[in-house]
Subunit: 469 residues, 2 copies
């Protein structure tokens, strides 16, 4: 009897059923199937929770359906209803001492839909991501219902298996050999890039883990001048300092790293007595969408013995295009690590970011392991204990939505997304070029970032203008 009582009580700890006075009608009228006499009766707390779930779904599904339809009428429905913080605060009200009804909660969810940006609206072009797909959205609901962490296999077997498989699939797309692939899903591209820098630090300066940086270390890392700010933030976090991150010049017209400049910079730092250990290159720079020459850079990195990372957070999804794989990503298979965000370009709900390593056996575990004995044990499936390879302890199950989006679309669906994006980039570029009186291209796009100037009327008809005007 003790065990039963304990468990009854434990349940109440988690669910506080006495705090749910709002839906007594539903609870009283629980459908008879809920408590089939031939089965163990469903505990009241779960009947109550199900009533909440049912009411929320009953009320929210029509709202969500209307939201989809609104997004599908972009000429008459605005992308956003912009409001200042005071207005939003007024409409969402305050958190009160007493709990509020499902209807009041639904009102807040409606307000959230109303004032948030419709990222799935066709006119949303603000940042490097867009709307997500229904399969990913429903996978997120299931993830929230399962509500488990992905640190060790035995609490998250399915999420762990899916994560490991997704890592393999993405690694292979970049041309890595299956037996050389490792990687993890991380909370965002900034974290993936930072973890790559830390893995390189561990390889070149293994004493830093325990002893910290020493004066004689003189670490220096290199990145494209066009790179995302997370690389500098990584250098800052890692305690090597942003000044010890050398910005390698890029071609003025393409925004692509000049390999000769990288080699010059490497030589100059070595002459100063500094120790290069990490080069960050780009596969889709944030602004110009440039793809660095990975073959040339790989050769230089191998010559000087430094870790070659590709930040493909933004442009990496284009690897699914068979045509672009062999052009934009030529040489990527030689890199030591690649970060890629399926939440960009592939419509997987945010957050979804991968760091892949190539031929760096256990580098992530060496870099990040904690030795937390209460969590990690040697078992036949301990390679699925992913948490020890990351900076997190508890981790979201981002693998499920990625797996589900891949299953629904198939690899050919992802390929078509990449090919479509490129086709449309060419189309839009051509449209811009057809109207030289109104627009002028900054450069010939390598991929899907199209940089152009709108020419104000005052500067047309032969009037001179420069970039600075």
């Amino acid at each position: 009897m003790l065990l039963r009582k304990i468990n009854n009580q434990y349940l109440r700890i988690c669910k506080s059923p006495q705090l749910r006075p709002f839906h007594s009608a539903r609870v009283m009228n629980a459908p008879s199937s809920v408590n089939d006499l031939t089965k163990e009766p469903v505990r009241k707390e779960f009947v109550d929770m199900l009533s909440d779930f049912d009411q929320l779904m009953d009320k929210m599904i029509p709202v969500i359906r209307e939201y989809y339809l609104d997004c599908g009428r972009p000429k008459t429905v605005k992308m956003n209803e912009f409001a200042l913080p005071d207005q939003i605060l007024k409409e969402i009200g305050e958190i009160k001492e007493s709990g509020q009804s499902i209807d009041q909660c639904v009102d807040t969810l409606k307000t959230s839909l109303k004032y948030s940006l419709k990222t799935m609206h066709p006119f949303f072009m603000d940042k490097l991501y867009a709307g997500s797909e229904p399969i990913g959205q429903v996978a997120e609901l299931v993830t929230a219902i399962l509500n488990t962490h992905v640190h060790v296999y035995h609490v998250a077997p399915v999420f762990s298996v899916m994560e490991v498989e997704c890592v393999k699939i993405f690694g292979k797309e970049f041309g890595f050999k299956e037996e050389h692939i490792d990687g993890t899903l991380n909370p965002g591209g900034s974290m993936s890039n930072m973890m790559a820098l830390l893995a390189a630090r561990q390889e070149h300066f293994p004493h830093v883990r325990n002893e910290g940086w020493k004066a004689e270390d003189k670490p220096v890392a290199f990145t494209s001048v066009q790179s995302h700010y997370s690389v500098a933030r990584g250098a800052m976090v890692a305690g090597m300092g942003i000044n010890n991150l050398v910005n390698v010049p890029c071609d003025r017209m393409t925004g692509v790293m000049i390999p000769e400049k990288l080699e010059e910079a490497l030589k100059a730092e070595i002459e100063k007595g500094n120790k290069p250990f990490f080069v960050n290159t780009l596969a889709g720079s944030t602004v110009m969408g440039g793809f660095d020459d990975q073959n040339a850079i790989s050769a230089i990195c191998k010559k000087y013995g430094v870790w070659h990372h590709i930040d493909a957070c933004w442009g990496g999804y284009l690897v699914f295009s068979n045509k672009l794989k062999t052009t934009l990503f030529a040489g990527a298979e030689k890199a030591d690590s690649i970060s890629i965000n399926p939440h960009k370009g592939l419509s997987v709900p945010t957050q979804c970011s991968l760091l892949l390593t190539n031929n760096k056996k256990d580098a992530l575990r060496k870099s990040n392991h904690s030795g937390a004995e209460y969590l990690f044990h040697e078992t036949e499936y301990s390679k699925y204990d992913i948490g020890d390879k990351t900076l997190s302890c508890g981790r979201r199950g981002d693998g499920l939505k990625l797996w589900m989006c891949m299953q629904r679309n198939g690899l050919e669906g992802f390929r078509a997304k990449a090919d479509d994006a490129m086709e449309k980039s060419v189309y839009i570029t051509n449209q811009i070029k057809k109207q030289p009186e109104k627009f002028t291209m900054v450069n010939e796009p390598q991929a899907t970032n199209i940089c152009f100037w709108y020419i104000p009327k005052a500067f047309r008809n032969g009037a001179e203008y420069t970039d600075s005007q």
Copy 2:
């Protein structure tokens, strides 16, 4: 006409409608209300997406309802159906070149529910979290549908406002003055603790950001010997080295830091010429559930001028208990920062972690800002541009589910969760004590971690035994 075409095409870039051959029946029979003749017709891509959403919901809601009911019959329904990786791989199948139908995707989602641990099952006691609540789960669905990042206000007005408000509410619960509170939501407690250490580093060694650690810095941080491994990981990441994190001894019986030992350790390090800058204390240690004496430690930290952080990731939710607030958390209001995970103890879906700072104006921004001009601009609402205060660029909208769980439960709901947990802890402790022949307590629990030994039959009846057996 150009604009329209561009937008049509842009839409297709994102949604690849030609990849959706599976549900033609639904598309053909789109309900007439979808395309009301008086309104702009809904674009086909959105009709298709809605069809996916409808089918997924139609099929998944009964599955989810059954899952709730299963969890509510814990004596006959197992907490988990354990399977090894090969079995799971076999059942989820492979990602194929071609996309799979909604039914096939639903099968995979069912498999996920089948083999994942039922964390909402009353018998789940494996780790420091449990199931989530329907309101939080549905908020996650809405978050995935909105699919926006929370870096700047103008792409996520509602999420940003909710995050700022939640920070205030939690800060006030710990006794911070409203005008002194700052903070952010982060991807997990490890990240929150690491960010606290980095903020302290920025305050004491501001040159590290740009120049890296110098030989003369000799930083040293202090943590309870009972602390979570994320603190050591933080010291590792920050490039100061795990060896420069001093583990302060705890009381053998309570697992609580001995303030005198902290002061001794501080003095010893200062005598060695090292520079203390950060003390990590605990409000709910992972194993013993110990709450450090924050008043005593605060006085020491102020005396030596070091940052006082409280890792309340686990036990922080108990602050909502008015009774425990004044006992377990006495002095917490004097800390410089506190981390707390509402995804533990408060049933908010994972991930949900807060780092709160107190009277450290703009410390998080100073520590983490990027100067990314393409993102962050001075506006009347730029204090809501949260991304610049964090290590992330794109960020999940974790604020919505936290807000919704608070709205549904009310503060009194959170208070009842805390009080209930404590009541049940006392109850279980008493039950254990009533059976001294079978169990022996390790110590008197301070809060909800109950540490006891089961006495094997061989050691009963006066046979001698020790901890090591």
